[in-house]
């Protein structure tokens, strides 16, 4: 059984099956990970019952403080660390956890337990004063934002913790407690109160979730990946998330904390580095990834930390996959007997299939292409046109029917009309968060940013091809090809399965049956995804349709509603997948409506 410290607090030790309603979703998945035999940093939970009691009276329930003391002592004994004292200080994370996840709930506070004294102890323990200082800063930053709701305190990184505390006080009028137990009590109250935040209340109302479920609080020991040579941190995917290759893929950063991997400030090493350094830990990691994948029947994304040679699992979730990987893995999982064909068809979205089948520059044309400039790939797609350096001119020439590429040193809202008119946008300065990148993605425009100062001026008036996927600009109009879904093994397999399971037939333009379809290519309304439903609704006695937006998601839904037998499309997979999703949504709506 889980360890009960009394009425309100439970220790998670991998035994038993604590109720989700009592401990919340996050602690519950932690318990599941433990149940699979995976070693997670020790944690205890203040239950939803305590939250309900707090919300009813506005005070922590009687006995809670004593229980938390006992739970902290339990964490201390499990970790060999002390909360609020050296020589080996215990730091914890505090997170909210409602039985169902919802917006408005408190974010995670990390490194709770740090103050001037424990910072010094941590510095001595890991021999890295800068890390200890940064741990302190990160805690103050998180506590100020999340618990005290400070607006945006001025954190000068060159200053000391005392100055950061002053900045927080100036920003919100409240103090970050120095006493770790005070910190913990403050964070607990903030979690409980976040249950009644504006966003949480509104979400519950909208989704008919009862207001009296309450949220739990998970308090988990922080693992340190930077203590010695046998410490580190990393991420592991149970299969390659970019290519879909059936080998584990991951990154490892020795002597580092989790946020270092995400920050991009350090270059992580491949997992083979970990295999060479600590072969047993590496083997344990791969075995865990296999277990998790089999249990969830999907590719897993696992965060781990190694503290003095001991492996800890921080989080495991279903991995996000690149479109190509999603297609290959969906087929592979069926072949391995983990999922069936129907499930596989829901693992690739219609848009992912469209991206895989979207036009790209021909390999052959790329070989002899003259590269004019290169930068950061900010938004995929191919744009061909004449380079124009001014947004007003771009708009004027585009209106006259010319294909233009907008090239600017940087863009600002001044350039919006030029960007809308252009086939692609390229800039000299700025990265993936610059205006050009952000707006380019919003408009679905090919976009390359940060090509270098002065790199684009000389291109004005030239005909170019912009490859937004690769971040390159080539001279001239390069040949563009549309990938053939029949030539890709995974896509062809999925298309065959989809044809079997979809409620609508999709035929290729070359098929003889295509001639029987009503041709909508000259109907202006049919080109508008919002109007195609009305167009198809008016068709009398038609068996099939082609042209316009009929192969878009909206077009497919409209075709199903209109009772068509088939539609004609250039590539059959995306509309087939859309038809399957439309049928899923319709049967779900029926279930809800019938209940």
């Amino acid at each position: 059984m889980t360890v009960a410290f009394g009425q309100w607090t439970l220790g998670l030790d991998g035994e038993g099956e604590p109720q989700r309603a009592l401990i919340g979703g996050k602690a519950w998945s932690l318990a599941r990970m433990q149940a699979l035999g995976l070693n997670a940093p020790p944690a205890f939970v203040v239950t939803t019952a305590a939250c309900r009691a707090y919300l009813a009276s506005g005070e922590p329930p009687a006995g809670l403080n004593d229980e938390i003391e006992a739970a902290i002592a339990w964490l201390e004994s499990k970790t060999g660390r002390r909360f609020g004292a050296g020589p080996r200080p215990l730091l914890v994370s505090v997170r909210s956890g409602a039985p169902v996840s919802m917006p408005g709930m408190m974010d995670t506070v990390l490194n709770l337990g740090v103050n001037d004294a424990t910072e010094a102890a941590l510095a001595a323990e890991c021999g890295d004063a800068a890390f200890a200082r940064n741990t302190h800063k990160r805690f103050l930053d998180l506590y100020a934002h999340i618990v005290l709701r400070a607006s945006a305190p001025d954190f000068d990184p060159a200053k000391e913790p005392a100055a950061w505390r002053d900045a927080i006080r100036a920003s919100c009028g409240a103090e970050v407690p120095a006493d770790p137990r005070e910190q913990l009590r403050g964070a607990l109250r903030a979690v409980f109160e976040s249950w009644n935040s504006r966003r949480a209340r509104r979400y519950r109302q909208h989704n008919h979730i009862p207001d009296d479920l309450g949220t739990a609080v998970t308090v988990q020991a922080m693992a340190f990946g930077n203590l010695d040579r046998r410490s580190g941190t990393g991420v592991l995917f149970s299969r390659n998330p970019s290519t879909g290759a059936p080998e584990p893929y991951g990154e490892y950063l020795p002597r580092a904390q989790g946020e270092d991997v995400v920050s991009g400030k350090f270059t992580p090493q491949p997992l083979s580095a970990l295999a060479a350094e600590m072969p047993k830990v590496h083997a344990e990691l791969l075995e865990a990834a296999r277990k998790l994948e089999r249990a969830s029947r999907d590719v897993q994304d696992v965060e781990f930390t190694i503290e003095r040679g001991r492996l800890y699992f921080l989080q495991a979730r279903v991995a996000k996959l690149a479109p190509q990987a999603a297609a290959r893995i969906a087929v592979a999982l069926v072949r391995e007997g983990l999922i069936d064909e129907k499930a596989a068809l829901r693992r690739l979205t219609p848009d992912q299939a469209r991206l895989l089948l979207s036009p790209r520059i021909c390999e052959a044309a790329l070989k002899n292409a003259e590269l004019l400039a290169a930068g950061e790939a900010a938004s995929p797609g191919v744009g061909i046109g004449v380079v124009v350096g001014d947004s007003d001119e771009a708009e004027r020439r585009a209106r006259a029917g010319e294909a233009v590429i907008l090239a600017r040193p940087t863009t600002s809202p001044d350039d919006l009309h030029g960007m809308i008119a252009a086939r692609a946008v390229v800039t000299e300065q700025g990265g993936s968060t610059s205006h050009a990148a952000v707006v380019g993605r919003a408009l679905g425009l090919a976009c390359v940013v940060g090509c270098g100062k002065g790199a684009l001026q000389s291109l004005a008036g030239r005909l170019v091809t912009v490859d937004g996927r690769a971040g390159k600009i080539y001279a001239g109009a390069l040949a563009v090809e549309t990938p053939d879904e029949n030539e890709d093994e995974a896509l062809a397999t999925l298309a065959a399965w989809a044809a079997k399971h979809a409620p609508l037939r999709v035929v290729a333009a070359s098929s003889p049956e295509a001639a029987d379809a009503v041709d909508l290519s000259t109907n202006e309304d049919a080109a508008d995804p919002d109007k195609i439903g009305a167009v198809l609704g008016r068709l009398q006695g038609a068996r099939g349709a082609r042209g316009g937006a009929v192969a878009s998601d909206q077009g497919v839904r409209a075709a199903l509603r209109a009772g068509l037998e088939f539609i004609v499309a250039e590539t059959v997979l995306p509309p087939l997948l859309a038809a399957i999703r439309a049928a899923d949504a319709a049967s779900l709506a029926e279930e809800v409506g019938g209940a």
Binding site: P103, A152, D154, P413
Partner: protein, 200 residues
């Protein structure tokens, strides 16, 4: 502050805007804006095409020289300065959020977010709500010094509200007054008043 200056300022923020757009962002009466725009066009300070207006190049220079003169008091106002400083500290957080809205991380690389993962989108909209709550104090400080800036707070809240209701275009669509569009326009507004250059 005269109407001609304000309307020109509005055109500098809302490029290629209709009279309604300019009136909306400045909180001015639509008829006043229409008349002022007509005068600006007659005086060759603005150009009209199909009901949309752009500043003429000479008018831009004229406008730029206005700021140092007209907003001395505003720049010296401690509340405004504090609000502006907070805005600049919040700005990278919003940019990061919008990048995560538009792209998802796949094996360490960013790929376009096709918005098929409702849970991912819901988390970001939740963070946007959190961001907005934290930005409110700064927006209030700015509005206390320049009352018309209250409009940004109201419009930002309205965009957030629509996004929270499921109309996700209101997060960052550049063609409407989405949260990101408005935040960017406010930034442009502030940079002009402060006479600073945008970083990227």
């Amino acid at each position: 502050m005269n109407d001609a200056h304000l309307v020109m300022h509005g055109l500098a923020i809302k490029k290629h805007a209709t009279a309604e757009d300019v009136a909306g962002i400045l909180g001015l009466d639509l008829e006043v804006v229409r008349e002022t725009l007509a005068k600006l066009v007659a005086g060759k300070r603005a150009v009209e095409t199909q009901g949309r207006y752009l500043l003429a190049p000479a008018a831009r220079m004229l406008l730029d020289s206005d700021y140092s003169r007209l907003y001395e008091d505003v720049r010296a106002n401690p509340a405004f300065q504090a609000g502006y400083d907070a805005f600049e500290r919040l700005n990278p957080l919003l940019k990061q959020l919008i990048t995560e809205w538009q792209t998802i991380s796949v094996g360490g690389e960013r790929a376009p977010n096709d918005h098929s993962d409702k849970e991912y989108d819901a988390k970001i909209i939740d963070r946007l709500g959190d961001f907005h709550e934290r930005a409110e104090a700064a927006l209030d400080q700015l509005a206390s010094a320049v009352p018309r800036m209250r409009i940004y707070r109201d419009k930002l809240a309205a965009a957030l509200d629509k996004a929270e209701q499921g109309a996700i275009a209101w997060v960052s669509d550049a063609r409407i007054e989405s949260y990101h569009t408005l935040w960017f326009e406010l930034h442009e507004d502030l940079l002009r008043l402060m006479q600073r250059e945008r970083q990227e």
